[in-house]
Amino acid sequence: MTVEDPDSTAPGARTPAPQSAAAARSGSTARPHGDLERYTALFAQRTQVMKSSAMRDLMALTERPDVISLAGGLADTTLFPAEDLAKVLSHMAAGDAARALQYAPTEGMAEIRPCLAAVMAAEGTAVDPDDILVTTGGQQVIDLMCKTLVDPGDVILAEGPTYPGAVPTFSAYQADVVQVEMDEDGMRIDILETTLEQLEREGRTPKFIYTIPTFQNPGGVTMSLERRKRLVEIANEREILVLEDNPYGLLRYEGESLPTLFSLDEGRFVVYGGTLSKILSPGIRVGWTVAPAPVRQKMIIGKQGSDLNSSSMSQLFVAYYFQERDWRDYVQRQSDVYQARRDVMLTALQEHMPEGTTWTRPKGGLFVWVTFPEWVDTTDLLARALQHDVAFVPGRAAYLDGRGGNSMRINFSGVSEDDIRTGIARISSVVAEQMELYASLTGTSRPRSGGTGSTEPQSDPGTADAPVVPLRTAGRRRSNG
């Protein structure tokens, strides 16, 4: 995963990049700065926001083999039977070698579209396979959406926190991203409306609202039915588009599934983004979008410019796989494993996290969002955690406005149960150590650690105005606390 640090005041790389302006300003005394000068003079304006950062360099360390990384967002591909892959691929090669090696239509191959429509139907969303535009991963949907709609300075509304991988895309198109708070029912639609009114007064119309309504990344919360309906109404009333990014919808571990925004809206103002990355394989890079026809047309032209077509081999593989195997069965198998891992993570958090820490309790998906007291900086905390061979995503990666400094995203799908237990225990001990230090600095009394005192979940839903409402809080206040 790429993580950009949106905080321009954060300490960055070792040495700063000179701008060509520096040489220009210093006039005749300036000497060329070698390689760097040669290339930076050619860079586009938008590269100004494509920054190196301390956080990104730290994130690279999370891939060290001795590190337990809760920083990923991966489907566990070890669950896929190798012999199935071998058989399906060999059938594909025997039956369709020439087409697998050939270009494909930009819109996508005919065989794969009914498969993708079937995935949507499994969530109760009916769609005509002909309306599907196959993309290179769900990421390309976000990119094509921006490419089609966003001029520099245009407003995109997104959840706060939002998908960290969308941050570099929004930045590259020089979008002005306004992030709307969430609670346990997803995006706060009342705040969205106030924000829209505010923008209207300023004469700025947002191009689209980016949302992951189901098992939000990184928040781990799901938008309620009532809010889904209201969001669709707002989109229709104001005639603005909504990009519904839905990578995890089928990975539900409890509760009833909710209708997609797309199905509520019947495709008028909601653009649907799907992907097989989390339910089959991120390696095949297969995603798709369903959009109103005029938007879709522009996206197709945009895609031609980007990559002509998504991998023919991947598309045919999917078609063969859906024909020969029960894809739903594989999704269910993954769900069972991820659900167990989620439970282990929530139990470990409850057991180990010091008081003052809160987290979300996702009903599906891959992530838990953890929030510490305000004074904690999770980028610095990550540096400390790496010394203990454990990693997570600092919350700032999920904001473009510098917020999120005291939160982190942790993943349970791609990590074994033992590693989850150990990883959470390590992070907790680092946090507890910082809390002890903070207590000695400020003269406040705090518990030394969460201990094993209470594993009983609390029902306290937390405060209503927190950015993400905590669904569980750590270890009950002890009398000696």
Binding site: S8, T9, A10, P11, G12, A13, R14, T15, P16, A17, P18, Q19, A21, A22, R25, S26, T29, A30, R31, P32, H33, G34, D35, L36, Q48, V49, K51, S52, S53, A54, R56, D57, L58, A60, L61, R64, W375, V376, D377, D380, L381, A383, R384, L386, Q434, E436, L437, Y438, S440, L441, T442, G443
Partner: protein, 308 residues
């Protein structure tokens, strides 16, 4: 010549080190050497014994590379290496030690106080924070004693911001430094062998020179810096004195502050294993002196071998 380029490792500056290392490797190949890039790991000593390089190029930043650890091992193995010896690396790497050495040598450096996490937990050092604030004034700078790349560095504008900043700094090291803020021009003087290279002046766009200093895209610089001849000479002399006081060898980068109000010069720190990336000051300075990157790398090898 067979050259081992030591890089990467486990430190927080791994990425910077890999960039430096890759660039050095490319230059060494162009120079016709037999190049072996080594991503430093548990096997390092065994690898070096097997390889028997004529010289090791240390492009390893952060812990292990800058604190003298690797240099010590190279000494034991009898392999000549670029840059300073273990003792000098250790003195530069620890900003608290460096400050003591500089002060003892009569070299001006901003007033500072060190605090350790154990002093805070065990000795009630928090109660001294007011006195420290009174002595250093606000704003003041908080940073880890041992950590490069400005990681964990914060500007504290008022007393209530100090605890958060100390927690941040102490995430990187068990000791932190509270340092008097000097409103000054950022100067970077590279020393190569016996000579100083053209001075780099950094122009942070941000109001806060410390936070802007290390953020790519937030900073511009001028090289050679536009300084009047006496200031330039004083900065060069001060850099050479700091270099000598800390016992540096081969090359180093000396960071100075030129007080805007008084024009006094202060040594901020000395980097014994300066970055050699595309955006690093030392290669930029060398280029301004007409020394190409390849020539710089060759010269560093000569300096390494000359001492052995």
């Amino acid at each position: 010549m067979r050259v081992a380029v030591l890089q990467g490792g486990r430190s927080l500056e791994r990425q910077v080190s890999l960039q430096s290392g890759q660039r050095v490797e490319e230059a060494l190949r162009r120079l016709g050497h037999e190049v072996h890039g080594i991503d430093v790991d548990h096997q390092l000593v065994r690898t070096l014994i097997g390889l028997r390089p004529d010289v090791a190029f240390v492009a390893l930043h952060g812990e292990d590379g800058e604190d003298g650890t690797v240099q010590e091992l190279l000494e034991v193995l009898g392999i000549p290496y670029t840059g300073s010896d273990p003792g000098s690396c250790e003195r530069c790497w620890d900003k608290i030690v460096a400050k003591r050495v500089l002060s003892d040598a009569g070299i001006a450096t901003p007033d500072a106080v060190s605090v350790s996490s154990s002093a805070l937990k065990q000795l009630g050092a928090a109660d001294a924070l007011k006195a420290i604030g009174d002595r250093l004034g606000f704003p003041l700078i908080v940073k880890p004693a041992r950590q490069g790349s400005a990681l964990g560095l914060r500007t504290v504008r008022k007393p209530t911001e100090a605890p958060d900043a100390l927690i941040a700094a102490l995430s990187y090291d068990r000791r932190a430094l509270l340092e008097k803020y000097v409103d000054g021009h950022d100067l970077s003087v590279s020393v190569l062998g016996d000579e100083t290279l053209p001075i780099v002046e950094v122009h942070p766009r941000d109001q806060d020179p410390y936070s802007a200093r290390y953020t790519i895209g937030q900073t511009t610089f001028t090289c050679p810096a536009e300084l009047d001849p006496s200031t330039k000479a004083a900065a060069e002399a001060l850099a050479r004195r700091a270099y000598a006081a800390l016992g540096c060898r081969g090359f180093a980068r000396v960071d100075l502050l030129l007080d805007r109000a008084t024009s006094d010069l202060f040594v901020l720190e000395v980097d014994a294993v300066p970055g050699l990336t595309q955006t690093s000051y030392l290669p930029v300075s060398a280029e301004a002196a007409g020394i190409s990157f390849d020539a710089l790398v060759e010269r560093l090898l000569e300096l390494a071998l000359g001492d052995h």
